[in-house]
Amino acid sequence: MLLDLASIRDPNRAGQAYALTFLCPIMPGHEDLLRDELEHLGADGPGPLARLPRTHFGRWVICPDFVTDPAQPHPDSLGCEYLIFTCCIDGDPDSYLDALCTELAPETRRIWRHCINAPDPAEGPALKAYLQHNQIRTGLFYSAYPTTTVPDVRRVLGQRSALRRLAVDAPDLSPAELQQRFLAEVR
């Protein structure tokens, strides 16, 4: 119930999960350099966000401009390209941003140095302030499992796989073996 009240007050929230959305202007001429930087983030592994264990999902997207629909009376240009950075995280956004700006500093420096008037080096409290300035408020945030944290998601998935493996093997096991394996493997 408390969570529900919290999410009514704060549209960035769904249960304990929080939606962070940032829109930062890219320095003219740096668009391709930034794209190159971002596309290499996951080149040899899951990418930097794996080092922030409270991250469910995250993305960096370069937005060249708003699309002008043929039905639209006038175009509405952004004026320059923008970097969209969003993530779905567990719990408090403030401490998450602290972690992002310190623990991921090697990457944040390389990414946000391409953004207009971002701090140099792009890390620590200065980057956090810059991001907060460019944060976009969420209108509506949906989660399929709003009360489950990343470690819990991983734990219950592991538990389900272990139980399934045991169920496959069960016809060949004695009751004692079944019990031992359940206690040892399904956690």
Partner: protein, 203 residues
């Protein structure tokens, strides 16, 4: 009979560009331009007690979206020159979704199941062709979609349904675990069979 679990999950993340894919997970990122009245209606849609929840309940049943968000952008934060001081003529609707399954099935489902819900969210956007028929609707999303340069999932091989099933299973397993070491093997075998019978929709 040997017990091997398939090592690699099948390819199901189809119909989208590589940057939008991490394992089974797919990213959709879309901006649409909103007519003037959307500025009034959309904030209401987001908080009204009966409008959005109806759509979100259907999303829960469809069970392929992990997280999704909508934001109405009416002004761009300014950081000083050389950033142009952009005065937006229209509001813009940002939508992103983290989901599993093929892009085409996902859009199909949106069109056929959330026909009214889609109108609620995008009816105020310029050029929105209604959710049905699916052809023009798919073309609209493709035209407004942006490819992610980097997309990350903490559990790329897991689908929304699996996660929800595993969450539902958890208390049933915990309950057996709590008593398991005090049981005789025969009692345990019976209780295990009961658990598997009770839990068969989520394991």
């Amino acid at each position: 009979m040997s017990v091997a679990t398939p090592t690699s999950a099948p390819t199901t993340a189809t119909g989208t560009r590589g940057g939008n894919v991490d394992g089974q997970a797919i990213a959709i990122t879309v901006f649409s331009t909103v007519k003037w009245w959307g500025r009034v209606v959309l904030p209401f849609v987001f908080v009204a007690p009966k409008v959005a929840p109806k759509t979100l309940t259907t999303l829960q049943r469809l069970s392929f979206i992990h997280f999704a968000r909508w934001s109405l952008i009416t002004q761009i934060p300014h950081n000083g020159a050389p950033q142009p001081e952009t005065k937006l003529r229209y509001p813009h609707l940002y939508f992103e979704s983290n989901f599993n399954g093929g892009w085409e099935e996902y859009i199909d489902a949106f069109s056929h199941i959330l026909t009214t819900g889609m109108w609620t969210f995008w009816g105020s956007s310029y050029g929105f062709p209604k959710a049905l028929p699916t052809g023009p609707f798919k073309a609209y999303i493709k035209a407004n979609e942006m490819e992610a340069s980097h997309f990350y999932s903490a559990y790329p091989e897991a689908t929304t349904t699996e996660i929800k099933q595993a969450i539902e299973l958890d208390p049933m397993v915990a309950e057996l675990r709590e008593r398991a070491d005090r049981m005789t093997p025969e009692e345990f075998a019976t209780a295990f069979a009961e658990l598997m019978s009770e839990a068969q929709r989520c394991c």
